[in-house]
């Protein structure tokens, strides 16, 4: 079995080769070439062919035919060609959607979830309670140039009036798609089934290609995103892709439908979470945006923080977080005015890389804030459903919990996966690990890994064709295990014991000791090693079994090892600058971050 997978990004097209050897799937080679969607080439397949050609050169197999197509082999005996070719795409800015629903927190949010989960960028959400007057909504719809519109609203048998009202705003506003001309704007209706007929009439005019799927929220108690997500993928292929240069050809090449890149990443994370029965958070921090994925209790969520990134949006991160928040992670003395100008210079020249250690430290500080802010956004989006009737019993009299609480629970979190330039290309793995810990503040036992060469998108599509191959490659080649973060929830007192730990490898004690409040320690535990780690937190501190209760869990070693974090949660840094700098320096030393 030989599989070629490509991901057509907005600047580069990445190809990987996956081969089955001795019954095990491994990723073997990778190639890269500039994406060729825009002029002067205007044919995405050229870039694909170039990247596969690189694979061909490295692997020695002939993969590209003379006509520039990918060679398929007839049987496993053939020396040349591959058995399977799959691809994802985010070229041309990815899939840009506008969504609409009746209530912002309910059907509109479900619509947003469906669009994001399918890998789209949501440009705006229109709802009857978004505090805009109808003519302002119309104005906004006219300004946007989405690739696709998703309209939801009303439970089945519920509201028809407002969802039709929204449709009646969209129809005369006549939003123009990005790819002008004869292109009909694809519009998906996933709302109250009783409104379908009227909706069909409203959009019967020219310029719309309406398709109807099952309601996203048949009742407020249930969310049914599947049909809408699938239809988004279909429409993406039929309409959006079909208008992008060269995609018609690419589609005929691929063995599986081409997916939007983030949608594929979501799929692989869901597969992993389901396969291992764990809760996962994944992040991809880019230059302009940060994509955040999570699977908690089997529920998948994705958010795109559009203006949190490390180059194009770096200035925005500093503006949103505040320079003080960024500088609290810096142990060196830096001039703020100078830094502000540097940030702006990075913004206007996004491709530069830090040359000095000082510049690296600062950039990594910014990345912590970008991740932290993106995580906050993610937490407030990844919630349980709102508008649900609570069945109370007498036992709830004193704890009337609200609906719509966040699904994200750092204590329940089992695995964090980091990807994106600043995380994957950090000079030292320790830096990646610490950035993740500082930004996400994981609690209890949390495994940290990074995506070695960002092949999650490829594996996402692969999972739809050959889940076993995807899983095996993911575990063996995609993920680079950095190690574990062990941190108690609760406030620690500086200078007082926080927890004891003992690490055993088949009854032999590898390491043990005690952590003092505010301290961090690194226990090196190499790749492939497996041990049992027992932690005994002090009263008031929770390691996952309740305050003060000891926990023992199996841990696997990694490139960094086991990070013992006794700084307490939520994480608090000293307020005085001098003290804080000393503190941060101590932690950096303990973890050998900038050795």
């Amino acid at each position: 079995m030989r599989i070629v997978a490509t991901d057509c990004g907005s600047t580069t097209t990445k190809a990987i080769l996956i081969e089955e050897k001795d019954g095990v799937f491994r990723q073997t080679f990778r190639g890269e070439a500039p994406t060729t969607v825009e002029e002067p080439f205007a044919d995405v397949t050229l870039g694909v062919a170039n990247s596969v050609t690189e694979l061909q050169e490295l692997s020695g197999y002939r993969l590209i035919a003379d006509d520039g197509t990918i060679i398929r082999r007839k049987s496993a005996a053939d020396a040349d060609g591959c058995d399977l070719y799959i691809s994802t795409s985010s070229a041309g800015g990815g899939l840009q959607m506008m969504v609409a629903g009746v209530v912002r927190e309910m059907t509109a949010e479900s619509a947003k979830r469906a669009a994001l989960g399918a890998g789209a960028i949501v440009m705006d959400t229109i709802a009857s309670n978004d505090r805009r007057k109808p003519h302002e909504q119309i104005q906004r719809i006219r300004e946007l140039r989405p690739d696709m519109v998703l309209v939801s609203g009303g439970t089945d048998g519920g509201d028809t009036k407002k969802v039709i009202e929204i449709a009646e705003l969209i129809a005369p506003a006549r939003p123009r798609p990005r790819f002008g001309g004869e292109y009909k704007l694809p519009l998906i209706f996933a709302g109250n089934k009783e409104a379908r007929q009227t909706i069909e009439r409203v959009f019967s005019g020219e310029g719309f290609a309406l398709s109807v799927v099952d309601n996203l929220r048949p009742t407020l108690e249930r969310e049914n995103l599947g049909p809408a997500r699938e239809r988004i993928h279909d429409v993406f292929l039929e309409h959006v892709m079909a208008h992008a240069p060269g995609y018609d050809k690419l589609m005929t090449w691929a063995n599986a439908p081409i997916m939007p890149t983030p949608g594929a990443v979501g799929d692989i994370l869901q597969t992993i979470a389901k396969g291992r029965g764990i809760n996962v958070v994944g992040v991809d921090i880019g230059g302009a945006t940060t994509d955040m994925f999570s699977v908690f209790g089997g529920v998948f969520n994705r958010t795109v923080s559009a203006n949190l990134g490390m180059s194009y949006s770096i200035s925005n991160v500093c503006a949103e977080a505040g320079m003080d928040s960024v500088l609290r992670w810096v142990h060196l003395d830096m001039d703020e005015r100078e830094l502000r100008n540097r940030v702006k210079n990075k913004m206007i020249r996004p491709t530069t890389i830090p040359q000095t250690l000082e510049a690296l430290v600062f950039e990594q500080a910014v990345s912590r804030e970008a991740l932290r802010l993106a995580y906050i956004q993610h937490k407030s989006f990844a919630t349980t459903l709102k508008g649900v009737q609570q069945q109370r019993t007498v036992g709830d009299a004193f704890s009337q919990k609200e609906a719509g609480g966040s699904l994200v629970d750092n204590m329940a979190l089992d695995l964090m996966v980091a990807s994106g330039g600043v995380l994957s290309h950090a000079p030292r793995m320790e830096q990646t690990a610490l950035m993740m810990i500082d930004a996400f503040e994981p609690e209890g036992f949390t495994e940290i890994a990074k995506d070695s060469i960002f092949m999650m998108p490829h594996l996402g599509v692969l999972a739809s064709v050959n889940p076993r191959a995807a899983m095996e490659v993911f575990e063996k080649d995609c993920l680079v295990v950095l190690g574990w973060c062990i941190a108690p929830r609760g406030e620690v007192r500086a200078g007082r014991p926080a927890f004891d730990f003992t690490l055993r490898r088949t009854n032999e004690v590898v390491a043990q000791g005690q952590l003092i409040g505010g301290e961090m320690r690194l226990v090196r535990f190499g790749h492939g090693e497996v041990g049992m780690l027992e932690v005994r937190p002090e009263r008031g501190l929770d390691m996952g079994a309740g305050p003060g209760k000891p926990v023992t869990r199996e841990v696997r070693g990694g490139a960094v090892g086991i990070v013992l974090d006794a700084r307490g949660r939520p994480l608090k840094l000293p307020t005085s600058a001098v003290e804080r700098r000393a503190c941060v320096e101590k932690w950096l030393k303990a973890l050998e971050v900038y050795e």
Partner: protein
């Protein structure tokens, strides 16, 4: 690989500059191929569809949307004024009738029996597109716009705010290393495109806005001053639509940094000519850099430029600007292009090159941290 592909900014004494001037929606083109145009000439115009005003008539009468039709006093296609009665209710046994009055003027576009909403379409709004640069129409795109061509001195800046403008080119200050101060601006510069030297100071910007300068062009700007001008901290470099009454353009970057000597001298040479400036910057997919074009007349240079990002090949001797600390803003030329990646001070490994600075010093920098200067 002894050569590398690297972005750069175009600074050229003479190029054939072509610019597409398009309407947002189809309309009428007012000029024909071969016409000579000035910057202000309207080359195309159209009307945008009027705004839409929904009015919930059924709600105003407290009736079911399905019962609205018989109550309507106006039909689709009727012209309505503000205050016109759109519909009247039947009342209770013929008494206590209520009327729904229009809150918008325009044409009644539709009446919905599902929602009881009446849509009024307002009057169309005119949109005009001007030529932006003085030159000649070389192509008419039917119903959409034109292509204007001119031979021009063309300079790409790195960053700007504010939209398109044009005026007489003037120079404030004496050298490319001199900051643009308040005293450099005088009343004669009203409506002009003013070229300064190094950093534009807060005082200079303030004075320029008071005087009514059309655009300021300098080497650098301080982040804090930009924030004061805009009134907010710019998060993402997508600009051009700011309404600040002036277009600002920097050629080098943020901070205390002098304009490249060559750029300064090129502009200096054309003082008094009409120049067109666009501050719009977009650093994302479809890169746009701010630009200054000074039309020079008919003579053709042969090379055709249509805007957008430029890039070139790095080679030994290529003039470059270092665009990241610790040598930020320094100019020099490539003196070596080592094959193997080197370990940087930050600990990362990257491809590097050696730059011979104007001072004669040689420094090693990552290849990502230089940009081409010159043509």
């Amino acid at each position: 690989m002894a050569k590398a592909y690297t972005p750069g900014l175009k600074v050229t004494a003479r190029t054939t500059y072509r610019v597409r001037r398009l309407l947002p929606v189809s309309g009428d083109v007012r000029v024909k191929v071969g016409d000579g145009v000035s910057a202000e000439t309207v080359v195309a115009e159209t009307f945008l569809e009027g705004d839409v005003f929904p009015i919930k008539v059924a709600g105003m009468l407290s009736v079911n949307p399905s019962e609205l039709m018989p109550l309507m006093l106006k039909r689709a296609g009727d012209t309505v004024q503000v205050g016109d009665a759109l519909a009247r209710s039947k009342g209770i046994f013929g008494m206590m009738k209520t009327e729904a009055k229009s809150t918008a003027a325009g044409t009644l576009e539709s009446i919905s029996e599902s929602t009881g909403m009446v849509i009024i379409r307002g009057a169309k709004t005119p949109v005009q597109v001007r030529a932006y640069v003085a030159g000649k129409i070389i192509e008419v795109i039917a119903n959409e716009g034109v292509v204007v061509e001119t031979d021009a001195l063309f300079v790409q800046g790195i960053f700007g705010v504010g939209g398109e403008t044009w005026g007489t080119l003037m120079v404030a200050g004496k050298s490319h290393t001199e900051d643009l101060l308040e005293e450099h601006i005088d009343a004669s510069m009203k409506g002009a495109i003013v070229v300064g030297g190094a950093r534009m100071t807060a005082g200079g910007i303030r004075r320029a806005r008071e005087v009514g300068v059309a655009a300021l062009i300098c080497g650098g700007i301080d982040d804090a001053d930009l924030r004061d001008v805009l009134g907010y901290d710019l998060g993402v470099a997508v600009t051009g639509s700011e309404k600040i009454g002036i277009t600002l353009l920097v050629t080098e970057g943020f901070g205390d940094i002098a304009m490249a000597k060559r750029t300064f001298q090129l502009l200096l040479a054309h003082v008094g000519k009409m120049a067109s400036v666009n501050g719009a910057t977009q650093i994302r997919a479809g890169v746009m850099r701010p630009e200054i074009a000074v039309p020079l007349g008919e003579a053709s240079s042969g090379e055709i430029f249509t805007g957008g990002a430029t890039a070139g090949i790095l080679d030994i001797g290529t003039p470059v600007r270092i665009i990241r600390d610790p040598h930020f803003g320094l100019l020099g030329s490539v003196s070596a292009l080592p094959e193997q990646p080197a370990v940087l001070g930050s600990g990362s490994k990257a491809r590097v090159l050696e730059v011979a600075l104007e001072s004669g010093q040689r420094v090693i920098v990552p290849r990502a941290n230089v940009e081409l200067v010159g043509d």
